[in-house]
Symmetry: C2
Subunit: 321 residues, 2 copies
């Protein structure tokens, strides 16, 4: 089968045998895969991953010895597979495999192997290209399951990339006042059309200046994907407020920790979320992901697709198999 690997910041198009299944695994034929900011950080060396990348995908189950009822079904997958012994929360098992990120080969390939217990059938009402958003939408909605967001809270999200948009639109369903701060008017408009207030920032806007203009937020989310995202959020958060960090980057960040202490802020790390919850959210039409699709490329044009996804300001680039 055709598959992709990254090596020294270049893309290799390789021919691999179809995955052989370990006990409990299913063979999934990939229909659509999304290119995520995490794939780009892996391309640049994050997590030191040598396997097949790709972790946002929709596929058809071709084989599943343990759950024959799944064969032929359209599915998405929770990417975290724990050892199954140490903890009920596989996302935090220290020996976990993470599809396309850690140990386990991912979905930038014609087929991938996934534990059957990680699969979630996609309801008929959800289009395949929309179902490709379930994994990243789950990560966005994870925030709503980690912290208590009240309807009267004021929430700010910094970063108008895909994760920032999904976070702002998603959290808007939990409280009235959600504002997305970003540098791209056309991307901010996507959120605006789904009920989110927006604020256009410029590189020369200091966060403190914005704070004096907008006031402070109860909850700020860093979805910038950059090392300085947290320092953007800290001055915009009220004393005893919460900053949620979604950014995973390989380098360390210079943080103004004194303000975190003096203002007694809570800084909450946030990663993957609940796939079933996100699927339900999508199925109930609580969010429209269609405007987040930047482009769809055939898998054979992976290099072009990846280069498009790496372009500053691009939204979700999908691969169709």
């Amino acid at each position: 089968m055709k598959a992709i690997r990254f090596k020294n910041q270049s893309i290799l198009e390789v021919e691999l045998p179809k995955p052989t299944l370990k006990p409990g695994e299913a063979l999934v034929r990939v229909l659509t895969a999304g290119i995520c900011a995490t794939d780009i950080t892996i391309f640049h060396g994050y997590a030191d991953f040598k396997g097949v990348p790709g972790h946002e995908f929709v596929g058809i189950v071709e084989k599943c010895p343990d759950r024959p009822d799944l064969v032929g079904q359209r599915v998405v997958a929770d990417i975290n597979a724990g050892c199954g012994r140490c903890s009920p929360d596989e996302r935090h098992c220290p020996n976990r495999r993470v599809l396309g990120i850690r140990i386990q080969d991912g979905a930038f390939a014609e087929y991938c192997a996934v534990p059957a217990s990680n699969l979630y059938p996609v309801p008929d009402g959800i289009k395949t290209r929309h179902a490709a958003f379930v994994e990243i939408l789950a990560a966005a909605l994870e925030i709503s399951q980690q912290i208590h967001i009240k309807n009267q809270n004021r929430v700010g999200v910094v970063g108008d990339g895909c994760l920032g948009l999904l976070t702002a639109i998603g959290l808007r369903r939990y409280c009235r006042n959600v504002m997305l701060l970003g540098r791209h008017q056309e991307k901010l408009s996507i959120a605006k059309r789904q009920g989110v207030e927006t604020f256009l920032t410029y590189p020369e806007n200091a966060p403190a200046e914005i704070a004096s203009q907008l006031g402070l937020f109860d909850i700020m989310v860093d979805a910038t994907g950059t090392a300085h995202g947290l320092n953007w959020c800290i001055p915009l958060t009220r004393p005893e407020g919460t900053v949620v960090v979604k950014t995973t980057i390989s380098e360390r960040s210079m943080i103004d920790l004194a303000t975190v202490v003096v203002n007694e802020l809570a800084v909450q790390g946030s990663r993957c979320g609940d796939m079933a919850f996100a699927m339900d959210f999508l199925d109930n039409g609580r969010i429209d992901v269609e405007p987040l699709i930047e482009a769809v490329y055939p898998f054979a044009r992976f290099r072009e697709a990846f280069s498009h996804a790496m372009t500053k300001g691009s939204l979700k680039v999908l691969l169709a198999f």
Copy 2:
């Protein structure tokens, strides 16, 4: 009256008029004051404070037009004085005066002026030199009021200075398993004698090595007072655990934020606490602060006392007036 000021990292012994009282304030004659790590960071330029430093103290009320019942009483003071209009929590009023730290002159002087509503009479059973610990003990116990510590939790405190010792001994009253990690065997013994497990670290011990030896903690507290304290705590905290940061320093810190995100840690800033709560704690004999006293100097020997307090490894240096 005699007072102290810092200027360009040197100590000035100055003669000032007795403070004139603003409405609602009391005049307090200082009996004992403690030198705190924050005073040392202010000496080095933190908070850019030009007034009289000193915020841990016990005194006798000499004048108090609004609360004449307080005159003659031995008191300690909450150091945060809000504007009284914006918020019930004066500690987080953006226009607050903070005794000896921000706007308001502090207690390294024969007299200081304090809002009467900030004063807490000291019960007769508490010695004056012990009451000088109420402010810092309140800061240590603030953690128990910010996060839900369960009896079965495993708590680690890094840093065996005064704040680290008070935190470890204080939190030991909330849960069975509290461990203090530090570099001074004789200081660790103070905590050990009050029921805290201890672990002697060496500069060459990497936190990851210690984690493999000790296992992970549900809650880790950074009481190191250094820029790298948080990076000590992060690898020692279990996924979805909490790191509490007590360190306030002027420089920014290089933080391994990716681990905060991937392990979904909560990083909680923590500052001053509830004085009445800490007083009660002390009055009920739940902690013995006597072994934390490094030395008591007469106020006239301030330079010597401050130099002693700045010596690496010293515990609480007190000034007697």
